[in-house]
Symmetry: C2
Subunit: 409 residues, 2 copies
């Protein structure tokens, strides 16, 4: 059998305590004994990152980004050292490496740095010595030896980038779910685990609320075609493979239903219907760092119109304030907001070749007397904004309508 | 006024919580505003190092030294980042640097590495930019970029070494006492703070139980003649200067009384009185890593003799086991041990020129009906091993006898 190179990533909940760290070490050793070279990326233990952040905020309300990176990067250094100890205790040689030692070079954007390059030499050297390499996720260094972090979920990115640097056969993402499901199993008990899914579908699923993996790292995996395997830290069954599209996969129109209850809707009334006003509004909102999602503007027959859009609930106040500032300049009407909304989406690469999915979705919602407030579409997804308290019912109905509970997918 | 370069070191108890970190930041800024360049060395917050060590021991009973250093070095990186944040929050520019960034190169002896060199360039550069530099104590890197730690109390060593590299005017050691006292003020309420003390005296005091500073760092300060100022983190009064000997200081014979209750006495009975046996015993004991202190062997009139010696209480079992192994080879008698002992010492550079100090000490103990079990002397100290429950009484009597309660020292 050929020697395989496998990158494994274990999230914070997988290494939350001593028993879980020992469990992770056993999983690593099992893979090792199958004649593989293994690099393992770990996140900080449990809530360590949140705890350190809270500590910093007690010192100052505005901790400088550079110092936050010095602080937060310690979380992953702690966990990689402990996991290396646990692996060695099982009789296998292991070495922990922090972001600097593993040669992850980033730009200078503290707290959300971008990886520029990874030097795989030190890992390959360790492989030659028969060592399992345990890497601190989420961090790197700049060209001037400053410590940086990669933003929330950054350990996923570390794993994918290392998989690329090593030309790994697979990058396994261990998490507390057993894979990617047709929808949230807590909402729909008939939800089924997907055997595989395309990068594009996974990206839609991730950005639409299925918070298994960081979206940026899926993009990188897609760009370099690194197969991802999302699976459970606690159970041994196979998880979900995230791969490039295959012909077979395209036969299925809808792969999953997602639901995001963390958005809020803003409606700006009486917007002058002339060129440039919408641009001013959304430029201002983006300048305060808020990502706007769905935007709807109705065709107007008068000289004014209404514009509705959604933002993450946490950014609601910032967005309203920004819109009000524009309003004072160009004369907008009132600003309404509503955080009792949910976004329900159907996702599937096969949509491209299956017409009528949107009609089927709208009809299903109508049959269930669920009113659609906004609609947006991408090439492989259709989303509806509806009342939050109707979201679970909508997800169940759509899951059934697209036969996701019946097929073996 | 000339610009002074000041190195400050704050121990774990000085940065144990958010309020204390803010207090430390204020102390730093006060010194800064007196037109100084300041480098600050910090230990890990409170019990962080102990907590991390305990965590490692739950993973494995024998954590590898290299991984321990990866783990433990995070403690000081956390505290230097937090202190830098606190200083910046007061409106002064600051930057934290870990052992690697500050350029502390060490040998490869993990968990007790020795400093080979310090590159002061990065600190000087920061000084030029008007920055206060906050350095993670206790750590360095090897030539192959492995993280090392300097052993318990290693932050003192970092501070002294940085003071040397920067040619600093003074190295201030901030701690939870206001200085070095003639004896432990908790035992003798008449104890007085010393205005100054020599490096030699401080070394005797430190190794004899006054645990204010790590002995190795005092040795380094002595070698490079770096004035140390031991003072309180919480009170503003001047502390104790540790300096080279001065003529004036030598006028005082006895500078302080120390007491160490953390030793145990071992007596090996019926040791064959022939060359090489003692060497075998103590070689074996040193091989298991135990530091033997006072050794007493009586002149023997027969062919066997008894040897008594003291070891740190924590090493008692290791030392007994080692002695037993030698015993099986060369035929020793029984091994007795006793941990109800204390070492009481009088210390003073002036002793060299003041005869009769020993006699005065022994007479004082005799007058107080305190039996002396063992005696040892150095050039500037005399120590007696006595019953532990008589130690406090002995310290009080000696403190009075040598007029330490009366003089302004």
């Amino acid at each position: 059998m050929d020697r395989e190179i496998i990158v494994q990533k274990f999230g914070g909940s997988s290494v939350a305590d001593v028993d879980r760290i020992k469990n992770v070490a056993r999983r690593i050793v099992e893979t090792k004994t199958k004649n593989n070279d293994i690099a393992v990326v770990v996140s900080a233990l449990g809530d360590t990152t949140d705890d350190l952040e809270a500590l910093a905020l007690k010192i100052t309300e505005t901790p400088p980004d550079r110092e936050m990176d010095m602080l937060l990067s310690t979380g992953e250094q702690i966990s990689c050292a402990l996991v290396a100890m646990a692996v060695k205790a099982l009789g296998h040689d292991a070495i922990s490496l922090n972001g600097r030692q593993v040669g992850i070079k980033t730009d200078k954007t503290h707290t959300k740095a971008r990886i520029i390059s990874i030097d795989g030499r030190r890992i390959r050297e360790a492989f030659k010595q028969g060592k399992i390499v345990i890497v601190a996720g989420y961090q790197g260094v700049t060209s001037s030896d400053e410590i940086t972090t990669l933003g929330r979920g950054g350990s996923d990115l570390t794993a994918v980038a290392i998989a690329k640097a090593l030309n790994a056969d697979v990058c396994e993402i261990y998490t507390d779910v057993t894979g990617i499901f047709t929808t949230d199993p807590r909402v729909v008990k008939e939800a089924r685990k997907l055997k595989n899914i395309t990068f594009d579908e996974m990206l839609e699923m991730a950005s639409l609320g299925a918070q298994v993996m960081q979206a940026r790292s899926i993009e990188v995996a897609r760009r370099f075609n690194i197969p991802l395997h999302v699976r459970s830290s606690f159970q041994k069954e196979e998880g979900t493979m995230i791969v490039k599209a295959t012909e077979k996969m395209e036969e299925v129109a809808v792969r999953g239903i997602t639901c995001n209850k963390n958005e809020a809707k803003i409606t700006i009334c009486s917007v002058p219907d002339k060129p440039g006003v919408a641009a001013q509004i959304f430029t201002k909102i983006s300048m305060v760092g808020v990502n706007v999602d769905t935007i709807v503007q109705n065709v107007s027959h008068t000289k004014i119109t209404d514009i509705s859009f959604t933002v993450p609930k946490a950014d609601l106040n910032k967005a309203i304030k920004a819109a009000q500032e524009v309003g004072q300049k160009v004369g907008l009407g009132g600003i309404l907001h509503d955080d009792n909304v949910a976004r329900v989406s159907v996702v599937g690469s096969g949509m491209r070749s299956h017409p009528g999915i949107a009609a089927q979705m709208f009809k299903t919602l109508a049959d269930n007397k669920i009113n659609i407030e906004m609609i947006s579409t991408s090439e492989i997804s259709i989303s509806c904004i509806i009342r939050k308290d109707e979201a679970d019912r909508a997800v169940k109905a759509l899951h059934k309508q697209f036969d996701l509970d019946k097929k073996i997918v």
